[in-house]
Symmetry: C2
Subunit: 219 residues, 2 copies
C-alpha cells in the first residue's frame, strides 16, 4: 500500500513535469507567432491549451482521491498540497501563453511588436521558455541549483520588462497608441509567466529545505 | 471532536470572509487614490496588503493542520481544498488592488487616468468592490443568488473593460503613450480582480451543487 502510494506521488510529479513542458513549448510558439506574425503557431497555442486544462483537472482529481484514501500527513501532505498549487500555477502559465498568442492573432497579418522592441520580446520569450524547463527540472529532481537559477532568470525577466518600458515611454516613441498598449500588456504576460515559474520552484524548495529561498514567499 | 472540527471549518470560512472584506476595501481605496491622486490612500492600500498576506499564510497553515489531524473525506475534503484555493484567489485580489494603488502613487501628483476615462475606471472600481462583497456573501452563506449576480457583474466588468479599450484605441486619442499604457494595465488589473472574485464564487457553487455554473470552470 505504502509503495503504491509513493508510486502515485511519483506519477503526480511526472504529470506536473509534462505540464511544464507543454506550457514551455506554448510560450515559445506564442513568441514565434508574435514575432513572425505566424497565425498557425498562434492557433496551435490557443487550441493546445485545452489539453493543459484537462491535465490539470485530472491531476487535481487524483490529488483529492489520494488525500481521501491515504490521508497523508507531515511531509507527504505538504507535497500533495504543493502539487495542487503547482498545477494551478502551471495552468496559469498556459493561459498567459494563450494571451500572447491572441495578441499575435489579433494583429495578424501585421507584426504586433514594433521593430525596436522585437529583440526584447524575443529575449523575454526565450527566458520564459527556459524558465518553464527549469521549473520542470525542479519538480522532477528537486533540483535546488535549477531553483536558484530561476531566481536569476526572473531578475533577467524583470530587467527586460523595465527596458521594454523605457523604450515605450521614451519621448522618441514614433508609433501610435495601439502598439504601445500591445507591448505593455505583452510585457505583463511574460513577467507574470516568469513569476509563476519562480513560485512553482519556491514551493519545491520549501518542501526540501523547510524555508523559502531568500525569505521570499511564492509570488 | 466532530463538533470542534466543524467549528474549525466555520472559523476558516469566517477568516475568508474577513479577507474578502479587506480586499474589497482595498480596491475601493485604490480607486479613490487613483481618481483623486490621493497618495495617502495609495499608501494605506500598499501597506495594508501585508495583513492580507499574513491572514492567508495563517489560514493555509490551519487548513494543513486540519487535514493532517482530521483527515477529512468527501464533501469536507472538497471544502478544505476549495478554501485553500479561495485563500490564494483572495490574496491575489489584494495584490491587484496594490498594483492599482501603485499606479496612483507613481503618477502623483498627477491623476493617472485621463478625464474621459475617469467615469469608466470609477465604475470598474465600484464593480470590483461590490464583487468582493458578494464573494464574501457566497462564502459566508453559500448564497447561490449572490454567486449568480457575480456572473452578471463580471459581464459588466468585461463590458467596461472593452469600452475602455474603445476610447484608448480611438483615433481621437489626444494624450501621450504613458496615460494609454497606464489605463491599459489598470483595465487588466480590474478585470483580473473580477475574474478571481467570480472564480471564488464558482468554487463554492461547485461545493454546493456539484457543478460549475454555466459549465464554466474557475477562471
Amino acid at each position: 500500500m505504502r509503495e503504491s502510494y509513493h508510486e502515485q506521488l511519483d506519477s503526480i510529479s511526472d504529470r506536473l513535469v509534462v505540464m511544464t513542458s507543454m506550457v514551455g513549448t506554448a510560450v515559445g510558439a506564442a513568441t514565434r507567432a508574435l514575432l513572425e506574425a505566424d497565425v498557425s503557431f498562434a492557433d496551435r497555442v490557443i487550441a493546445g491549451d485545452a489539453e493543459v486544462d484537462t491535465l490539470r483537472t485530472d491531476l487535481d482529481e487524483s490529488l483529492l482521491e489520494l488525500m481521501a484514501r491515504q490521508a497523508p500527513v507531515a511531509g507527504d501532505l505538504r507535497t500533495v498540497v504543493a502539487s495542487l498549487r503547482i498545477s494551478a500555477e502551471v495552468e496559469r502559465m498556459g493561459d498567459l501563453a494563450v494571451h500572447i498568442a491572441k495578441v499575435a492573432r489579433m494583429r495578424y497579418p501585421e507584426v504586433a511588436v514594433v521593430p525596436e522592441l522585437r529583440s526584447t520580446i524575443s529575449s523575454m520569450g526565450e527566458t520564459a521558455e527556459r524558465m518553464a524547463g527549469k521549473a520542470g527540472a525542479v519538480i522532477a529532481n528537486r533540483d535546488l541549483a535549477a531553483a536558484a537559477e530561476l531566481e536569476t532568470d526572473d531578475d533577467e525577466m524583470d530587467r527586460l520588462h523595465r527596458s521594454l518600458f523605457l523604450v515605450l515611454l521614451d519621448h522618441d516613441w514614433v508609433h501610435k497608441v495601439e502598439p504601445a498598449v500591445d507591448v505593455a500588456l505583452l510585457g505583463r504576460y511574460y513577467e507574470r509567466y516568469a513569476d509563476h515559474a519562480v513560485s512553482t520552484a519556491r514551493r519545491i524548495v520549501y518542501l526540501v529545505t523547510g524555508r523559502y529561498p531568500q525569505d521570499a514567499t511564492p509570488a
